[in-house]
């Protein structure tokens, strides 16, 4: 286990290193921030001064080494636009995105698994069939369109929910959270549901498929032949067997929900990281883009690690030791 963990950490380190190269080269390809940041009226001397101030006069490999050196000290550079450390900027916006993503993933668990179980146990029932049909819409309708429709129906026509912003927030552990106030929850309802629709559909279908696949298995019949209650057969025997793919997908979806909440945050003007990254790309604020991408990579590595650890808890046949 320790060996395994150690190996994984070394692998992770290489992934991060490779990612810094790709990201650093990538942002240099997409455009020259100088054109955007410096006013067109500036003369040559001012331009040169600004380029030196941003550190863009040096060759690319030198810029990269400077970045690496900073990164080792926990400094991913300063935003060109806000002149603040990029990490601090991201850190300020992170709680908003996090609470949105966590709520979306919780929704997909709370709605997706029970509906999937039901659809798997009673595939011919009306609810089972409609859940399956609805799930097709869930992941085939584009997020931005669904978001706009939500706003049209619930904010404009019915006036039930606010359409933009985080609403009132309350402090917890020194951070402002929306989910602690009624108003904040009302603001969060639509974007969270919007963000989770695809995940709900995915978890639902996965759960259903797992149930359909496992129900005809001998171990289910044997459990029934032991005289166990249907609840125990489904929630203990079947559930534990289908949880592995579900945990995998939920883990990966959590990462991508955070990484790609860009669309939802833009539609609902949610002041999270997604909005920050879109704005930063627009003005080619390189350090923020790099820092954001590095953070997402880190997040995925951590989530995958947690998922792997969960496997051992769920399936005794999975052993993390590498066989020699």
């Amino acid at each position: 286990m320790t060996t395994w963990l150690f190996r994984r950490l070394i692998q992770a380190l290489f992934v991060i290193l490779a990612m810094t190269v790709i990201v650093f080269l990538g942002v240099n390809v997409i455009g020259d921030p100088v054109e955007i940041l410096i006013s067109p009226d500036a003369d040559q001397a001012e331009r040169a001064r600004a380029i030196i101030a941003l550190g863009l006069d040096k060759p690319l490999w030198q810029q990269y080494l400077i970045f690496l050196q900073g990164a080792l000290h926990g400094d991913l550079g300063r935003s060109f636009v806000f002149n603040e450390p990029a990490l601090r900027l991201i850190g300020q916006r992170m709680p908003a995105t996090m609470e949105l993503a966590v709520t979306a993933v919780l929704l997909s668990i709370v709605l997706g698994i029970p509906l999937g179980l039901y659809a798997g146990l009673y595939p011919d029932s009306i609810l089972g069939r409609s859940a399956m049909a609805g799930s097709i819409l869930g992941f085939s309708l584009p997020t931005f369109w669904v978001g706009l429709m939500f706003i049209m129906v619930f904010a404009v026509e019915l006036g039930w929910l606010p359409s933009t912003g985080r609403g009132a927030t309350a402090a917890f552990l020194g951070v402002q959270w929306s989910f602690l106030t009624r108003d904040g929850l009302a603001h969060m309802a639509m974007p969270a549901l919007n963000l989770s629709l695809g995940n709900i559909a995915l978890v639902l279908r996965l759960t259903r498929a797992g149930v359909r696949e496992n129900l005809p298995m001998d171990y289910v019949r044997f459990a029934r032949a032991k005289g166990l209650s249907p609840a125990r057969v489904v929630f203990v025997h079947v559930m534990k067997n289908i949880l592995i793919p579900i945990v995998t997908v939920i883990g990966l979806e959590f990462g991508s929900t955070i990484a790609f909440s860009v669309v939802t945050e833009s539609v609902f003007a949610w002041p999270g990281m997604g909005k920050l990254i879109i704005d930063s790309i627009n003005v080619l604020d390189r350090p923020v883009i790099v820092a954001y991408l590095m953070m997402i990579v880190f997040l995925f590595i951590v989530i995958n690690l947690i998922v792997d650890l969960l496997y051992t808890a769920l399936d005794p046949r999975v052993r993390l030791e590498s066989r020699q």
Partner: protein, 325 residues
């Protein structure tokens, strides 16, 4: 209480599929007495497994029991509610399955799977349930049962897993065990060990046993009575000596002829020509007539069950009179 543990009368289990009604079990009657072993013999698809599942009422849709009665100590299982039936399953009636690699839940520990069975039917503490589980494991010959309780199924060999399954079946000392080809997936040595142990246990506890198999040699050494199934019906039934030594039905005769034995060394094994018919839209008349050397016009009608001798049932218009084997 009478000595009759189970009496199945005119059982019919049909599968209502889109393509039509599959009469998997059609008009099957037999009985098993306390402490006795009935061998239910037949080819794949003859309806023997469905018969077993019908008794414990675990036939999945689109199949269901379409008629007949299953009297267990005089109570008709076919008429019990699902809740009452659940109280009997694993408690008074237990089942052992064919493939030990598949019957235990791979992600639950052996103790979990045993204790839940104990506590499903007896109001006992966790510790008491665990003690009973350990004793059951010891009874089926699993060494150091205390440690083995902590194991997962994948840490056992196939033979050991089948022992665990048998231990689970024995937890409540059931009156009836239905064993569906429990030794088919095991190698011959393990098979012999398990057969000997089951026989011993059945005799000690007084459990009635239905042993479903396609393997006549297994039944010959184990069963007291034999029922031979073909295309959903019992074509011949009686005590082992009668059916195996002096088979009257051409199908039984063919089955016995196809088993290798020492006396037949060097000669080609006889085989029954043709294949089992599809149970979908089975034509009127004896289902075996297309493969039978004795078939004639009379066989186009359903042969009734006759009793050529006491305790010997037969469905054939042309029984073999001479002992052939």
């Amino acid at each position: 209480m009478s000595d009759m543990t189970l009496e199945v009368r005119n059982l019919r289990t049909h599968f209502f599929t889109r393509a039509g009604v599959v009469r998997a079990v059609e008009d099957v009657s037999f009985s098993v007495q306390r402490g006795r072993v009935l061998g239910l013999v037949g080819e794949s698809g003859s309806g023997k497994t469905v018969t077993g599942f019908s008794i414990i009422r675990l036939v999945d849709p689109p199949g269901r029991i379409a008629g007949g009665s299953i009297l267990f100590h005089g109570r008709d299982l076919a008429k019990l509610s699902e809740r009452e039936m659940r109280g009997l399953r694993g408690n008074r009636i237990a089942m052992i399955f064919q493939d030990p690699m598949m019957t235990l839940n791979p992600v639950l520990r052996i103790d979990t799977q045993m204790i839940e069975t104990v506590r499903a039917h007896a109001k006992v503490s966790h510790a008491e349930a665990r003690a009973r589980s350990r004793d059951a494991l010891g009874m089926v010959g699993i060494p150091s049962p205390d440690e083995r309780l902590e194991s997962y199924p994948h840490q056992f060999s196939g033979g050991m897993r089948q022992r665990v399954a048998i231990a689970i079946a024995l937890l409540h000392r059931p009156d009836l065990i239905i064993a569906d080809e429990p030794t088919t997936a095991l190698d011959v040595t393990i098979q012999a060990q398990i057969l000997a142990e089951v026989q011993k246990l059945a005799a000690n506890v007084g459990t009635a046993l239905i042993w479903i198999t396609h393997d006549l040699s297994v039944v010959a050494g184990l069963a007291d009575e034999i029922a031979v199934m073909y295309a959903g019906r019992i074509v011949e039934a009686g005590d082992v000596a009668t059916v195996l030594d002096r088979p009257s039905h051409p199908y039984t005769h063919g089955l016995i002829g196809s088993v290798p034995s020492r006396n037949k060394r060097g000669t080609r094994l006889r085989q029954i020509p043709g294949m089992t018919p599809s149970l979908l839209d089975l034509p009127e008349g004896c289902a075996f007539r297309a493969r039978c050397a004795y078939a004639d016009a009379a066989c186009e009608k359903d042969p009734p069950t006759t009793e050529p001798a006491r305790g010997h049932a037969l469905r054939c218009f042309h029984p073999l009179l001479e002992p052939v084997a």
